[in-house]
Amino acid sequence: MEDFISIRKLYKKLGGQEVLRGVDLDVRAGETLVVIGRSGGGKSVLLKHIIGLMKPDSGEVLVEGQNIVELTERRLSGIRKKIAILFQSAALFDSMSVEQNIAFPLVEAGIKDPKVIDKKVAEALEVVDLAGEQEKMPENLSGGMKKRVGLARAIVSSPACILYDEPTTGLDPIVADSINHLIRRLQKRFQVTSIVVTHDMKSAFHVADQIAYLYDGRIYFKGTPEELQASRDPVIHDFVMGRSEEPILT
């Protein structure tokens, strides 16, 4: 399989701190790559570089061979039609209903026929198990429902790649598990390339074909979930087991 996304020597400094210090990463078409790492370790920053929401200080982000770092904001819109993102906060447009939120990418793509839009919105809502919730406003949705609507908005225009920013953070274990199933189901049903950023190891093992560990601003490890679990490297082992260096206070 060819690489859908290739990241080369990506550097980014934020507020004087070097968040990314030479990230190299390849994501093959159709696979689900989970990027794990500590909170504040630059996972979301990496994700925002992949869709061009942030520009690196140096380095390359190649999407299907095209370096998107060089593209202007207007020219990026072509790339962004291929890649969708589910934000950590879902980032639904709060002045629009669920239906309008999901229909937004379709309307912007120039689809005017209300019947086509209604059908596609209904299908997307069905995929995320929220059929019939078109009329609700974002303020009336729970955290899990917001993420599902965000996901429906991401998939409605059939992207080739979906980026998930902490999809299970802040959700109860049942809802988190249902989101994990959903990610897996989308991958199987639409063969989309997926990049999931998380520090939830249960979620990572559930959805990943490959796992990359972002540590100290670089990719410290990349391999299958089995290889990660088998690793005896103390840095990896401590993260996977959720072990702190500090003694537990009593």
Partner: protein, 263 residues
Amino acid sequence: MSAFFRILGTQILAFLHYLGELALLAKETIVSICTAPIRWRLFFIQLQEVGFRSQLVVIVTGSFVGAVFAAQTYFQFHQLAMDTAVGAVVAVSMYRELGPVLTGLMVSGRVGAAMSAEIGTMKVTEQIDALRALGVYPIDYLVVPRAMAMLVSMPLLVCECVGFGIVMGYVVGVGMMGIPGPYYVHYTQQFTGIRDIKMALSKGFVFAVLIVIISCHQGLNAKEGAEGVGRAPTEAVVIGSLSILVINFFLSIILNVVFPYGG
């Protein structure tokens, strides 16, 4: 002493940087208006918000400023037996200065604050990132409809403010102070002309650009958190109002050359 100059230099550089950002936003907005498809639905929503809903504020402001200006002018002019000139003074002042400036200040307070707060909230809740991620350029979607609505509304609101000011000046001057109506109207017509209307409209147009660019810039650059979102509208109103007052001075000088009084 060197510390003083260092701080002064930093402040001047920061100010120039800010002006540069405003100029870039203005340029991007013009490019968007000329090249990107206009979202007419959003334009009409903004037209209602900016133009239609600002009318009460502008009418009340214009009316009472016109009324009080007529009364004060009468009190002074009456001592010189120049009562009939009150209408001309009120009309010229309303057209050339008070109408555009007061409309600008009121719209900056009402609409500018709302624009920066709305865009600022969208920024910190990642809704602007969501727009970009969905392939929509935020300037096209957020700034252009607001800019167009403001450019259409402001000159009309200025006319409304001036019109109500002059009418209320007449009500106070003729109705309350007893100035003969025909003379009041005659001198008002004699000393005002199309040049004054052009000046009022020109100022309204410039103030519209100032308000929309400053407010949208504050919103698009709002800092994270409640404090950042809270600060954006405050700064939009303060910077917007001060710029209107400062630019108005220079505009008056320039426009008096273009549209000379009595010319």
